[in-house]
Every structure is written in structure tokens, then in C-alpha cells.
């Protein structure tokens, strides 16, 4: 912890950065904080409640963040993958940001606890299962103690397998029920570090591709589009699902597409921005079993 605070203090003192984006102890658990003076660096924490993907503050949609001056952000493995996504898609230059990597052994589902809960199969976030990054490699400074692997929970994958095993009509019924609750508030989009279009397709009205009134049909079009636009780009940080006020299991869609791009194109989302994302790239010998 002091290592993180000292690093932030040094970066601010040196004038390398003007703001450090990390987590602090809030009234209801951990929350993001923007530290702009060295004196405030004591606020910074990192523990299993630090679930937020802070890379979302580097999203070009949030130009007000860059107006504060050059930022340093604290990143876990999944956050570093999101930063790599922004770099890969030319939304950010590497020298525009300083990355402080933290060694991470998994986080919990919600940041709200008063003290950092221990990670168990029941408390660990589903996204941490299969996470291969204990130490983000693409960072400028790495802090924290070595961490163990997160507890193994295959809940998400088991749920996907269950849905896949259902007849197609029942899958439609399952998703219809979920979609009926969506209010198209777009919190999923706003929370996402990689949804950065200046003008989202859902805001295009001539022609209107996606019905914006919140009924199941418009919601289907929205969620199909959101998932498809994130296919092969989603880092699986689960922030969309956490932001959803009605609890739609968006991680099922995101994880499903992660499985699909892996099965079809052998692609896993990477911390290396030079590896092209699967949609937008191609190989002449790509699978075409589904094409007559």
C-alpha cells in the first residue's frame, strides 16, 4: 500500500503526471479517486474491493479527464488489457499516460464492503476465473506483493454451457425475460472502457437501426449490437454487468463471445496492443464451415 502511495507521490512531485487515478476508502467501500496533490496520496488503497476498471477514464469519450493534465492510473491485469485495447485501436498514445500496475490475485463482485473480504469461491468475481495476469506486464511501475491465483469458480462458463444445452426456443425465452427488464439507460455502454464511439449507433436516427424505447424487441437489438461490437475486444472486466441497474447478466454474452472468438480464431484478448483484434483483421484460411 505504501509502495503505491509513494509511487503516486513521486510521480506528482516530479511533475511527471498531474493526476493519479486510483482507489480510495469511501463511505461505502472502495471507490475511484482522482489524486491531484502529493499530500493526498495517502488516500490511495488497493485491495480485493478495487473492482472498478479505471481504464474507462482514459476512454476518449471522457475528454474532461485528459484536461486535468497527464494522468497516471492504477491498473490490475484486466484494466491493463483495456488500456491495451485503447492503444490497439488508436484511441490513446502510450506516452499520454503513466501506468501503475498492481499485482492482483482477484477481486470480489462488489466494492461495497467496509473491509477487504477474503477471496473464496463464493465471493470472487466471475471474471477472475481463468485470469492469467497476476502482474500486468505493460506498465511503467509495478507495485504490491506477489499474489496467489484467484479461487477457481467456473460459474459463468457452467451457466453458458447450460444455456447452450437448451433448445433454441428456450434460449429466446430466457433472453426475452432478461431483455424485458432493460430500460436502455446505456449504463453498460458508459461503464465500458472500450465503448468509445463519439456517436453510438443507438443514437443514429436516420435510419433508426435500434428502437430506443425500452421494449424487448428494441432491447434485443441493442444488446445484440453491444455484444457484437465488443466481440474480440471485450476484456471481460464485467463493469457493464455491475453498472446494470436491473441486473441483466451481460457477462454471459461477453464471455460467450470470448469463447467464440477463441474457438473460431484462436484469439484471446491480450495485454499486447500490437496483436490485432479478431474483428477488423482476417486470415485467408479462416474457418468457413457455416458458409455454403
Amino acid at each position: 500500500m505504501t509502495e503505491l502511495q509513494d509511487t503516486a507521490r513521486r510521480l506528482l512531485d516530479e511533475g511527471t503526471v498531474q493526476v493519479v487515478i486510483g482507489w480510495e476508502e469511501g463511505r461505502r467501500g472502495a471507490r475511484p479517486v482522482f489524486v491531484r496533490s502529493a499530500a493526498d496520496c495517502d488516500k490511495l488503497i488497493f485491495d480485493t474491493r478495487c473492482v472498478h476498471n479505471l481504464a474507462t477514464y482514459l476512454n476518449p469519450r471522457r475528454s474532461q479527464v485528459m484536461e486535468l493534465g497527464k494522468p497516471a492510473i492504477v491498473v490490475k491485469g484486466c484494466d491493463a488489457k483495456a488500456v491495451a485495447g485503447l492503444l490497439r485501436e488508436a484511441q490513446l498514445e502510450r506516452d499520454q499516460v503513466v501506468l501503475i500496475g498492481v499485482r492482483c490475485g482477484g477481486v470480489v463482485t462488489e466494492p461495497g464492503a467496509a473491509a477487504a473480504p477474503a477471496l473464496t469461491v463464493d465471493t470472487v468475481a466471475s471474471r477472475c476465473w481463468g485470469c492469467d495476469v497476476r502482474e500486468p506486464a505493460s506498465v511503467d511501475v509495478l507495485v504490491g506483493d506477489a499474489q496467489p491465483e484467484p479461487p477457481v469458480t467456473a460459474a459463468l462458463d457452467e451457466r453458458i454451457a447450460e444455456l447452450d444445452a437448451l433448445p433454441v426456443e428456450e434460449r429466446l425465452a430466457f433472453w426475452t425475460k432478461e431483455m424485458e427488464r432493460c430500460t436502455q439507460c446505456y449504463a453498460c455502454r458508459q461503464a465500458c472502457p472500450l465503448c468509445f464511439c463519439e456517436r453510438c449507433i443507438v443514437e443514429k436516427t436516420e435510419p433508426q437501426w435500434i428502437e430506443t424505447s425500452p421494449h424487448a424487441r428494441g432491447n434485443f437489438a441493442w444488446h445484440l449490437t453491444r455484444a457484437q461490437h465488443l466481440a474480440g475486444r471485450c476484456v471481460g472486466c464485467g463493469e457493464c454487468e455491475r453498472a446494470c441497474p436491473v441486473g441483466i447478466p451481460l457477462s454471459l454474452l461477453n464471455r460467450k463471445l470470448q469463447q467464440v472468438v477463441y474457438e473460431l480464431y484462436g484469439y484471446t484478448v491480450s495485454e499486447d496492443p500490437s496483436v490485432p483484434a479478431p474483428i477488423g483483421a482476417y486470415a485467408v484460411d479462416d474457418t468457413q464451415d457455416f458458409i455454403e
Partner: protein
């Protein structure tokens, strides 16, 4: 958009659709201008007989076919969708079909996961000389979708009623270009008339 009064035709249509003996699948085909459209044209000029359930929408390239087109087709009452373009290595724009292949490989799985039977989707490569292959693609798709029955589950999802007797009537978009657009429908400003024009080779349904 004003809701059209339920017409006798439309009511008849619903009744016909419910009965497997009289059900006629509505198939929307999104095809590329350079290969499949020309192939379909060849099928037409060769006087090949094929199912008349397919309405063609011509686009510049399979790379121009956005997945929302497919969603929109199902919303407007399509029972099945065909996406067809140039064979690999034949793309007029070098790589549009390769990009489409990746996109639809993924989108097909996503649709299936969310409950749209992938059997309702046909992806094919049909070149300008493959009029006969186009006929086969059309006939096979129509037969397959006929077996599956009407896909009312999707377009009847809760939401304001949409006209389904002509899936493209409501897709009308304003055309601000000088002289009006009779060009390729891939441009989202092109008028809806194009689809009907383009429907000629395979013969319009209804």
C-alpha cells in the same frame, strides 16, 4: 410513422402463416453487388425456376452488411435471412468478404446463443456465373425455413406493432441526395425502391 390499418390482406396473411399447409416463408437476402446479385440476375435471365419467397437487397459488398440488417429483417417479420457474396479471393474490394466471414462467424453464434435458430440463416458464396447455385441456395433456404415454420417469436416481442406484410415498407429512409438514389442499397440513404427493383431476379414474394 403511422400505423397502417389492419388490412384484409394482412389478416389473411396471418391466418395463412399459422397454417403449415399455406405458410410461405419470408426470406430476406442481403447480397453483394458484384457476385451474388449478378449471379441471381443470371438465374433470372436463364429462366431458372426457384422459390419466389426471397426478397433481395443489394449492397456493394458483404463487407457492407452490418449485423443490424439481419436484426432489422427479423424485426420486420423475416422468417429467414440469406447473406451471400463473392467467393474468397474474388472480392471486388479485395477483402470485404474476408471481414464479413469473421463478423458473421461470430454473429451467427451470438444470435444462436440469444435464441435465434442458426438454421434460419444462410451464408453462401455465389459468384456471378453461379446462377444455378443461387437457385439451390434459395430453394434450400426456403425449404429449411418452411420446415421450421414462421419466426413470429422475434418480431412479436413486446413492442409497438410493426407492419410485417412488407418487411421493407417501414425501412423507408429520407434520401437527401440530388437526383434521388437509385444506386446500390448499401448506402443507407438509398431508397427502399431499390430492394424491390433488386428483387426482380428471384421474383418478389407475396
Amino acid at each position: 410513422m403511422t400505423e397502417p390499418a389492419p388490412s384484409a390482406t394482412r389478416l389473411d396473411d396471418d391466418a395463412r402463416r399459422a397454417d403449415p399447409a399455406t405458410f410461405e416463408p419470408r426470406i430476406t437476402a442481403f447480397v453483394c453487388n458484384w457476385c451474388t446479385y449478378t449471379g441471381a440476375d443470371l438465374a433470372g435471365t436463364s429462366r431458372l425456376h426457384m422459390a419466389s419467397n426471397v426478397r433481395i437487397i443489394r449492397l456493394p459488398c458483404t463487407g457492407r452488411i452490418d449485423h443490424v440488417f439481419i436484426v432489422k429483417a427479423f424485426e420486420r417479420g423475416a422468417d429467414g435471412v440469406i447473406v451471400s457474396g463473392c467467393h474468397p479471393a474474388d472480392c471486388h474490394y479485395t477483402s470485404g468478404n474476408y471481414h464479413a466471414r469473421r463478423r458473421f462467424g461470430v454473429f451467427r453464434e451470438l444470435l444462436s446463443f440469444m435464441g435465434v435458430d442458426p438454421e434460419r440463416l444462410t451464408f453462401s458464396w455465389v459468384s456471378a456465373s453461379e446462377g444455378a447455385k443461387w437457385k439451390d441456395v434459395v430453394d434450400e433456404t426456403v425449404a429449411r425455413v418452411r420446415r421450421l415454420g414462421p419466426f413470429d417469436a422475434y418480431h412479436q416481442l413486446a413492442g409497438p406493432a410493426l407492419p410485417t406484410d412488407d418487411p421493407f415498407a417501414a425501412m423507408e429512409v429520407r434520401d437527401d441526395r440530388q437526383g434521388g438514389g437509385r444506386g446500390v442499397a448499401g448506402d443507407t440513404t438509398a431508397g427502399p425502391g431499390v430492394s424491390h427493383q433488386a428483387g426482380a431476379p428471384a421474383g418478389g414474394a407475396s
